[in-house]
């Protein structure tokens, strides 16, 4: 019991309180009269009067005020007042759930300040406001960045990896500053963007999240279920991530400086090992020998392959194009706040060079947050402005996927030097029999692609409390972006030789959001009510232009002013959203919780008939541990049951006019006269409607052993129908596709988070484990009941089909190689015909299963579902340790189960035609009955290898991995007596320390196109690998 907690208050103060809280309401006047009565009588009869408030000065209703050692007691009223008969000097025990119990000696009139217990009463940011954690009935996870700041990363997304149950953050590419994807609860859509909605300080952002400096962020709130997200209505189907930036708190006056410098390097153990020069020459030599043996080849073996032993390792293209690269990060934060004013200014500089040569990104960022409260506390206003400027250098050149640089690296011949004797670049780096590829080293050094992105996030708010509990809140925000691109590629490396190409383009985009709502918060005895209602409007627009120049006389001037031919175009696009929102929160005694919310959205993206949508939700919670019968169960400190159901939508498809048919221009030049034609180019769908997501969530929050162990469990079930997808149409209609509502999918899963305090005292050790079990199944699709990835068999990796999970792999079933003549005779053969009974199969070629049993293997009838990318479970495990001045954190992320389709390896790196450099392992391939190799790599016979490049079950590998995302070791210097610093901390950190996996590719987190399931989940077409980063950092707080 601290003396400061108890203050004698005077009649005058009570009068002031009365004025402040009670005047407008007759009922409160009555309370006041009663109170005065008690106050007066108390003195005469040994009655004690008082008020219980929390540490923010807000009344605590329903608190129990007991006379110690007796069963006598009263409860505080809605305004926190109580009166109890007691002798002066008796000990009062004041208790309320979520607060630390206080004991104090009774005075005539007392004021009690109850301190909130952090975990239960923490207010967290929720949609449109804040709410006490304990009173939330939806599924919400919060993450403070306090312990994440030491990670040497440029994107906040990387900090979130493995931290929140049900939130899958995957680094699908190591491209600096890019390539991180979110999926909350397995996403929900086929086509639409599966990224959650990001809301920064209440402002839904419309641009990219790449420009946001992680150091500006204080907390993340992840809204997962429909009741939590419902107020974001049509945009909430994939969940919402609320980002709260740093705001100074009363009493702050500090200057902080953070710096961090690291070196990234690529782990070498998973780099594919292609044949080196002598191995490749050997392979090709054998290939030509086999052509002589089996194909009647009579020519000479190309000279370069005649004597393989003359070569050593040759050119290692991978080494030439990769490097160790620095990453650095500096931030300064200035914060000051008084009772009525708070300012925060943060300035940062981040630089990340790519591990791929001649690439990198730089980010300059600033943020100013300013908050004001008027003298009487009724008016609160503030603004924030956050400009940033980003420079991407060669950072968006095609590095991932088919035709990307990481594929090209394995296509250049190790027999060839990248340089001519005079030091200039060799253009063609292929050896005999290979496909003509261009020197990738030259491509990366002779291409300049600079993007400059300016972004300004700004918002302002104005809250006015007209009446007690009734506030008008107005928020406005702007998300403004501008991007320019300057691209120039030397004619030495253009695909058409000597055709230097320049591009100059710019985009100017922006959105504004304006919201106004009324928020009414009141308690009626034990009934606590909050009602919120209002409107919101948002509009996004973008103008863009692109100029392309050709005919540069040389590489001296890389700007279009030197081009002899310039063509260009410009465009404009916009969308808008207007919404009405309403929400009611009600709880009884703070333990029976109810919430209902509704958003009505009108979106310009849909046709006139389906432009408006309603997104309602309800949720209920019961804090069981508050019940009397639970008090005896001493080990349970907190138990809450909650359930929610709601409808949300998804409208984040690309193309703002998909409901309308729009025209495109097509040229047809009649008799040499350039003539522009114009007709419908994109078929609109006037009946396109919202994608609808109905979600049930049941959850439990449990803390035991004095909060040493806390557990959150959620079960969810989402049914998404009216799935929007680009629906393939028969091309005989004149159109290839239309955006349409194509079907339905169910997603369900279990999420568990366990936080433990393992040790306290000198050595403090806490752990956090989260695991999610996510499943999904497609339940309906338009005719013919499936949607293929594309029509080319070699890249038709998966099929969306009713009864199957998203992205289920589709292809041939691998059965090894045809062993001998007998095996060949007995087995079905690829493309066999009556006149050509062996088709293109032979002994030593790939044998696949004859699915339809007709004795012939063909592309249409013999492919089937061969695998499933869905992991059994995913999660993360994080530990924090501190001992004296040392602290240490270890974060890991893992996926268990599920498969990955290693297309990069089988479609490209094991091409037995010799058109590319195969993996060294493929040297051990079939050459004859007596030299059959290891049974994995087929023979090189001309015309038989194509089936190896069409998806088969051999391509599938386990996607299980455990990744040690970050280890940080920190030391807080002893600053006692230091005149300059209040706090000084040094730390060392390793990002992406280790990935434990059996997967043979470079990155088990890879995905074909982020985590967009329509583009394929867990398809590896070779992406930019994720570097390991070793860094050291220093953070200082000045006195």
């Amino acid at each position: 019991m601290k003396p400061s907690m108890i203050n004698l208050i005077t009649q005058g103060e009570i009068l002031r309180m009365k004025k402040q809280f009670g005047q407008p309401f007759g009922r409160l006047f009555l309370v006041w009269v009663l109170l005065m009565f008690f106050a007066v009588t108390a003195q005469a009869q040994g009655t004690i009067t008082g008020r219980v408030v929390d540490d923010k000065g807000q009344p605590v209703p329903g608190a129990a005020v007991m006379l110690k050692g007796t069963t006598r007691g009263v409860s505080t009223n809605a305004e926190g007042f109580f009166t109890i008969s007691a002798a002066q000097g008796a000990t009062l025990v004041i208790r309320s759930i979520g607060y630390k119990t206080e004991e104090l000696s009774a005075e005539k009139t007392i004021s009690v300040i109850l301190k909130a217990i952090a975990t239960e009463l923490n207010e967290v940011t929720v949609s449109y406001g804040k709410q006490r954690q304990r009173e939330i009935s939806g599924s919400i996870a919060t993450l403070s960045t306090e312990k994440l700041q030491d990670q040497p990363v440029m994107q906040f997304a990387q900090q979130m990896e493995g931290k929140v149950a049900g939130v899958s953050v995957m680094e699908s590419s190591g491209q600096p500053g890019r390539g991180v994807d979110f999926r909350i609860r397995g996403a929900a859509s086929f086509y639409l963007n599966n990224q959650p909605l990001f809301v920064i300080d209440g402002l839904p952002i419309t641009g990219s999240i790449n420009n946001i400096n992680p150091d500006e962020i204080e907390t993340f709130t992840v809204l997962k279920d429909a009741s939590a997200t419902a107020l974001y209505g049509s945009r909430a189907a994939n969940g919402v991530i609320l980002i709260t930036t740093r705001h100074a708190r009363a009493g702050d006056a500090r200057v902080e400086f953070n710096s961090n410098y690291g070196v990234q390097h690529l782990p070498s153990n998973k780099v594919p090992k292609p044949m080196n020069a002598s191995q490749f020459a050997t392979f090709m030599n054998e290939r030509y020998q086999d052509m002589k043996t089996y194909e009647g080849f009579t020519g000479a073996i190309p000279a370069e392959y005649q004597n393989p032993s003359q070569y050593g390792a040759g050119t290692n293209w991978y080494k030439l194009l990769t490097r160790n690269a620095p990453i650095q990060n500096y931030d300064i934060t200035l914060q000051s706040a008084t009772d009525h004013s708070s300012s925060t200014a943060i300035f940062g500089y981040q630089e990340q060079q790519g591990v791929l040569i001649n690439t990198g990104t730089k980010l300059f960022s600033g943020r100013i947050n300013k908050d004001l409260t008027s003298a009487n506390g009724k008016l609160k206003a503030g603004f924030s402005i956050a400009p940033s400027y980003r420079l991407d250098h060669n950072n968006r050149l095609s590095t991932d996927g088919v035709g990307g640089l990481f594929e090209r690296l394995f296509e250049a011949s190790p027999l060839i030097s990248p340089y001519n004797p005079d030091g200039s670049y060799v253009r063609n780096v292929y050896s005999s029999g290979m496909v003509a590829y261009i020197n990738p080293l030259a491509i990366f050094n002779l291409t300049n692609d600079d993007y400059k992105t300016t972004r300004i996030l700004a918002n302002g708010y104005f809250n006015y409390e007209f009446l007690k509990g009734l506030q008008l809140k107005v928020n406005t925000g702007v998300d403004k972006g501008a991007e320019s691109r300057n691209y120039y590629q030397s004619g030495q490396v253009t695909s058409t030789v000597n055709n230097p190409t320049g591009t100059s383009s710019s985009v100017d985009n922006g959105s504004y959001t304006a919201e106004a709502y009324l928020d009414y918060k009141r308690s009626f005895g034990d009934h606590n009510l909050e009602v919120l209602g209002g409107y919101s409007a948002q509009k996004f627009s973008s103008t863009s232009n692109t100029l392309t120049g050709l005919g540069f006389p040389n590489d001296d001037i890389p700007y279009l002013s030197a081009a002899t031919s310039v063509t260009g175009s410009s465009g404009y696009t916009a969308y808008s959203l207007v919404s009405a929102i309403g929400r009611v929160n009600y709880n009884y005694k703070g333990k029976y919780l109810l919430q209902a919310a509704l958003r009505n959205d009108g979106s310009s993206l849909f046709g006139a008939l389906s432009r408006y949508g309603d997104f309602p939700s309800v949720s209920a919670g019961w804090i069981v541990s508050d019940e009397d019968f639970m008090r005896s169960v001493g080990k349970i400190s907190f138990l809450k049951l909650r359930a929610s159901y709601g409808v949300t939508g998804n409208n984040s498809f690309s193309g703002n006019y998909s409901a309308q048919s729009t025209t495109s221009n097509y040229y047809y030049d009649f008799n040499n006269v350039v003539t522009q034609g114009t007709t419908i180019g994109n078929l609109g769908n006037a009946s396109l409607q919202w994608e609808r997501n109905r979600q049930l969530d049941i959850g439990v929050d449990l803390s035991i052993l004095k909060d040493r162990i806390s557990l959150t469990y959620d079960y969810y079930h989402k049914n998404t129908d009216h799935l929007i997808m680009t629906r393939p149409m028969p091309t005989s209609s004149g159109f290839g596709s239309i955006l349409d509502n194509v079907g339905a999918i169910s997603l369900w899963g279990h999420e568990v988070t366990i936080n433990t305090v393992n040790t306290t005292g000198k050595l403090r050790w806490t752990s956090s484990l989260n695991i999610s079990f996510d499943r999904n199944k497609i339940t309906a699709l338009v005719s013919p009941g499936y949607i293929r990835r594309n029509n080319t068999v070699s890249s038709d990796y998966f099929r969306q089909q009713v009864g199957h999970p998203l992205g289920a792999f589709y292809g041939f079933v691998f059965q090894g190689l045809y062993k001998d003549a007998d095996d060949l005779a007995k087995s079905a053969k690829y493309l066999a015909t009556a006149t050509n009974p062996n088709g293109v199969s032979d002994i030593g070629t790939i044998k696949v299963k004859d699915i339809n049993g007709d004795g012939v293997i063909d592309d249409v009838n013999d492919r089937t579902f061969i695998g499933d990318p869905t992991p059994t479970f995913t999660g993360g495990f994080t530990n924090y340790l501190s001992y004296k001045n040392f602290d240490c954190s270890i974060s890991t992320a893992f996926d268990v189960g599920g498969q990955i389709l290693n297309a990069a390896k089988w479609a490209y790196q094991t091409n037995m035609d010799g058109s590319r450099v195969p993996l060294a392992a493929a040297l051990n391939h079939w050459r004859s009955l007596s030299d059959p190799g290891n049974g994995v790599y087929p023979r090189t016979k001309t015309g038989t290898t194509a089936i190896g490049r069409e998806v088969n079950s051999q391509w599938l590998e386990s996607a299980t991995y455990l990744s040690i995302k970050n280890i940080t070791l920190g030391y807080n210097l002893n600053m006692k007596g230091n005149s300059m610093f209040r706090r000084l901390r040094a730390y060392a950190s390793v990002q992406q320390l280790l990935v434990l996996t059996k997967y043979s590719g470079m990155n088990p987190e890879i995905s074909l196109s982020g985590q967009d399931p329509t583009q394929g989940i867990k398809v590896d077409e070779e992406g930019y690998p994720i570097p390991r980063t070793l860094s050291i950092g220093l953070s200082a707080t000045f006195k």
């Binding site: 003509a436 006015y464 729009t662 025209t663 008799n671 034609g677 769908n685 015909t833």
Partner: protein, 511 residues
């Protein structure tokens, strides 16, 4: 105070609730709601309907020429990507329904049809379009639709008959119509076009479809349908419209001479680099793959990834009569060497006339010369691609006359005389039938007529199997089973993607 905030709130509410706030239309393009109103807009819509014709001819050589005994491809064993194997398979009669070039041909033919259908469907309600323009636009679109269905019905048999603008996904799924139904529609459309389109106002023509184009199309269809008398009547109207043969065979293919008196309809190309140019890339497709084709094209073109197709066969070269001027105009020889990656280094360009063998250590590759002219850009040339020339009208006339037992010699010999060949004097109908077919092969070589002629004449199975057997002895790179031509192979498979998507479609037999 209370009033103030209510006012503020109401103000915001009103502003945000304005209906027009969510009523956005594209501004950098039209939407179909505000387009298709004026004469000029319909004119542009018609222009857009022509545009995919270029894509049709960029694929059609694989379907209608290289499939025949006129052409073969150059081996590229170092690259077995589907961009190569799919094109080879069409040549070798080993194509499957998944062939992407087959799918492209189908798609682009239907894209012309779709754009024509938009105009045809919307014109009747377009009150602002004057009657003469409406007639002209309708005529052009009916011509284009007829031309494309005629291509489709010959390649695939009965196909889905789209005759109205497709506005919803449901309308995109149609079953196949019968061959007869398709031809009935072609005849109806061609007749409408014939009525609505004007004869050329002068030469060179505009490049748009004219009465002459509709006339020869309908006559061609009539010959297919064995309505020979109708064909003769139609074809005899052409001279009065100003059509005639050029003095020299090669004149018709000169970019400087496009849309001239011999041209009944050709697909327009325009080389260059400016906005809206439409270069013809085929000129590079038809040359051996090389890092530089400068010896033939004048400027260095790298056609390593695009070239190697539609190589004239020995069979075709050997079938030119001695002294036929068309041989030198149509075909050239380039000498050089292939490296182990199957890329060709050009060393000399030679005339095919009298050519015997390359010098030691060199390889001779024939190439299509008739479209090789000055090339203004690396992306392609200004060479138009002929669809109907007057010489074909003469040969159709000859055929129609012969099939009715009348003498075809006047039109037939007009074509031969220009080629520097002596007159044919035969009178036997079967001999003349063969002579006319042969004359078509030579006169219309590489104009995507040969495969259709082989099928139409009933010779395809016999000719192609024999051709394949000979070819197997000439070149080493044909796979086993190539050129196994059965009746089923006379029609292409419907693209697998279409059959997979539209369950009402039945696949052609044998696929």
């Amino acid at each position: 105070m209370k009033k103030l905030y209510i006012l503020v709130l109401l103000g915001l509410t009103a502003a945000s609730c304005k209906k027009s706030f969510t009523d956005l239309s594209p501004q950098s393009s039209y939407s179909d709601a505000n387009y298709y109103k004026t004469t000029q807009q319909f004119g542009s819509a018609v222009t857009a309907a022509y545009a995919p014709l270029r894509d049709v001819v960029v694929n059609d050589y694989l379907m209608s020429e290289q499939r025949s005994d006129n052409a073969i491809y150059q081996s590229i064993l170092s690259n077995r990507g589907t961009a190569y194997t799919d094109r080879e398979a069409l040549c070798e009669f080993m194509d499957a329904s998944t062939n992407s070039y087959n799918a492209s041909e189908w798609q682009y033919c239907y894209q012309v049809i779709s754009r024509a259908n938009i105009v045809i469907s919307r014109l009747p309600s377009a009150t602002a379009v004057n009657a003469d323009s409406a007639k002209y636009y309708d005529g052009q679109c009916k011509f284009l639709r007829a031309l494309m269905y005629f291509k489709l019905v010959r390649l695939y048999g009965g196909v889905p008959l789209f005759l109205k603008e497709v506005k919803t996904p449901e309308q995109a799924f149609l079953p196949r119509s019968t061959v007869d139904q398709v031809y009935t529609q072609i005849v109806a459309d061609a007749n409408d076009a014939l009525k609505e389109l004007p004869a050329p106002a002068g030469f060179p023509q505009t490049g748009a479809a004219s009465k002459g184009a509709a006339t020869v199309l309908l006559a061609d269809v009539d010959v297919y349908l064995k309505k020979y008398a109708d064909a003769v009547t139609l074809l005899n109207t052409l001279p009065a419209m100003g059509y005639t043969l050029n003095a020299n065979y090669s004149d018709a293919f000169q970019p400087t001479n496009k849309n001239g008196r011999e041209s009944l309809f050709e697909v327009q190309f325009l080389g260059g680099t400016g906005t809206g140019v439409t270069p013809n890339p085929l000129v590079y497709y038809f040359l051996p793959r090389s890092s530089s084709t400068a010896l033939v094209t004048g400027i260095a073109i790298n056609n390593q990834s695009t070239g190697g197709w539609n190589t004239p066969t020995k069979d075709l070269i050997g079938s030119y009569e001695s002294g036929d001027k068309r041989l030198d105009a149509s075909i050239g020889i380039v000498e050089g060497t292939y490296n182990a990656s199957d890329y060709f280094t050009y060393s000399a360009v030679k005339s095919v006339v009298g050519y015997t063998a390359p010098p030691s250590g060199k390889v001779a590759v024939a190439y299509v010369k008739k479209y090789q002219h000055a090339t203004p850009a690396v992306s392609g040339s200004s060479d138009d691609f002929p669809i109907y020339r007057y010489s074909e009208a003469l040969l159709l006339l000859a055929e129609a006359l012969n099939e009715q037992g009348q003498s075809p010699l006047a039109p037939l010999n007009a074509v031969r005389e220009r080629a520097g060949l002596p007159d044919i004097t035969a009178t036997d109908q079967a001999t003349l039938r063969a002579a006319i077919l042969h004359e078509r092969r030579i006169e219309l070589a590489f104009e995507d007529k040969r495969w259709h002629d082989l099928v139409r004449s009933g010779n395809a199975v016999a000719v192609m199997n024999a051709f394949g057997a000979t070819l197997q002895t000439q070149i080493s790179y044909l796979p086993a089973g190539a050129y196994t031509v059965t009746d089923n192979r006379l029609l292409y498979p419907l693209p697998q993607a279409e059959v997979g998507l539209n369950t009402q479609l039945t696949q052609n037999p044998g696929y």
